[in-house]
């Protein structure tokens, strides 16, 4: 496919690796923010091809992973109600809440449906006027314009049996939470390309300056990632801390203005709890008061509850780059994608799940030695 295959060219990848090796003189730790990038890095083994001085740690950019247990429990509570059709992206179905997951609700007779787009959920609402249709609006800035549009259209067309259960989070406050922690080890960031396609990268400029960390807006294919790492190392080696844009074929400095306007119309910035990390101020989006009739939490009058994570899970440290998946004693034994203990093992984009999927054999072989 055009704009995909050429960015997987092994020869070009080899020459970037060669260039990276040439300029690397000291140990550096870089974090890629997005779970999609983590997945590509581990799948193609890019981390193993890099010079040993460079360590990649994997950031919190997996919306499925960081959706708090409380929101999953709320989804399960709503989906179990009679007369509700609960629509969700497929990757939320298996995410365990404190007791059950959405797939179990479906197995017990609940009407839980997987959709490709929030607009499919809105269509479902129009086709089923006697049912309540709830869409699980999970995601980062990339997904917010799509979810905002579904809600906006529902309000404009007065579709009263449609609502969103929202768990939207924002990247820059999470970066700041990582950088301001005393335990922080991250020296440079690969910023998430598709988040920046929506939001642009101007909001990263003050963060790069304040914490003196290079930030490179990076795409998702192997060549994008290698070029992003190359730009980041080049800055680190020369003592710079700028924001650079590797993914310029898709990202403009100011981002996508029509999409930003739709987000602002429907959502407002609020504090959000991140699974494995805790509450971060100003780190999420909630439905504006004007649109509360389409906010599932208001419609179903759900109480706020607090649920704690299994004590053994270290996903909070993994999401902040303090530990790597294999350093967890539960990894691959008591914690697997089938029976995850926490955030980073629950989604295919989570760092632990990516290591389990692509590195499990070598891990077992090492253990056998």
């Amino acid at each position: 496919m055009k704009y995909i295959d050429e960015y997987r060219d092994p020869l070009a990848a080899k020459s970037y690796l060669h260039e990276i090796r040439k300029i690397t003189t000291r140990p550096w730790m870089i974090m890629e923010i997005c779970g999609g990038q983590t997945h590509s890095i581990v799948k193609y083994g890019l981390d193993e091809l890099l010079p040993k001085e460079i360590t990649l740690v994997h950031g919190p950019g997996c919306p499925v992973c960081v959706t708090p247990l409380e929101q999953i429990d709320k989804a399960i509570e709503i989906a179990s109600k009679p007369g509700v059709i609960f629509c969700t992206f497929g990757d939320m179905l298996r995410v365990p809440g404190s007791k059950r997951d959405l797939l179990m609700v479906k197995a017990e007779g609940g009407d839980v449906r997987m959709v490709y787009s929030p607009l499919d959920a809105l269509k479902c609402a129009k086709a089923n006027p006697d049912k309540e249709i709830v869409f699980f609006a999970v995601g980062f800035e990339t997904t917010a314009p799509a979810n905002a549009m579904a809600l906006f259209q529902a309000s404009r067309e007065n579709v009263s049996n449609f609502s969103l259960l929202t768990s939207h989070v924002l990247v820059p406050p999470a970066m700041e939470a990582i950088l301001s922690s005393k335990e922080n080890r991250v020296q440079g960031f690969l910023a998430a390309g598709h988040v920046c396609a929506i939001m642009g990268y101007e909001e990263y400029l003050p963060i790069a300056l304040k914490y003196q960390v290079p930030m490179v807006v990076t795409g998702f294919e192997p060549l994008d990632l290698l070029e992003g790492i190359y730009f980041c190392i080049r800055q680190l080696e020369s003592g710079e801390a700028k924001v650079e844009n590797q993914y310029s074929r898709a990202v403009q400095r100011e981002g996508n203005r029509p999409a930003q306007l739709m987000i602002e119309e429907v959502f407002e910035v609020i504090a959000r709890k991140w699974r494995g990390i805790g509450e971060i101020p100003q780190s999420g989006l909630g439905v504006r008061k004007k649109y509360h009739p389409w906010d599932a939490e208001k419609k179903f009058n759900l109480d706020d509850q607090s649920v704690s994570e299994p004590a053994e899970c270290v996903s909070g440290q993994i999401l902040r780059g303090i530990r790597k998946p294999m350093e967890c004693p539960a990894f691959g034994g008591r914690c697997t994608p089938e029976h995850p203990l926490g955030a980073t093992m629950v989604s295919t984009e989570g760092a632990c799940a990516a290591y389990y999927r692509y590195r499990a054999r070598e891990i077992r072989e090492e253990a056998a030695l």
Binding site: A12, S117, L119, G139, A146, M149, L223, N256, S347
Partner: protein
Amino acid sequence: MCLAVPGKILFMDHDEQGYARGRIDFGGVLKEVNLAYVPEAKVGDYAIVHVGFAISLVDEEEAKKVFGYLKKIGELGELQEESQGEDPR
């Protein structure tokens, strides 16, 4: 979750609510996509699509940069010579 895929806009019109809509070809798979966020889109453009919405158009000139940069530093040429005779995988 933030997965977005580039595809070519084959056809454009408006949906019942008046929003711009396109049929997009993803390597042979056709899908209907909302184009409300890319008002400058034209038939033949490549759009980057996430959950049924085009979030950006591919800038063709910028897309070539990664290869141009490699050529400039001469690496690609050197490696091509080196790998002649190697297993072509």
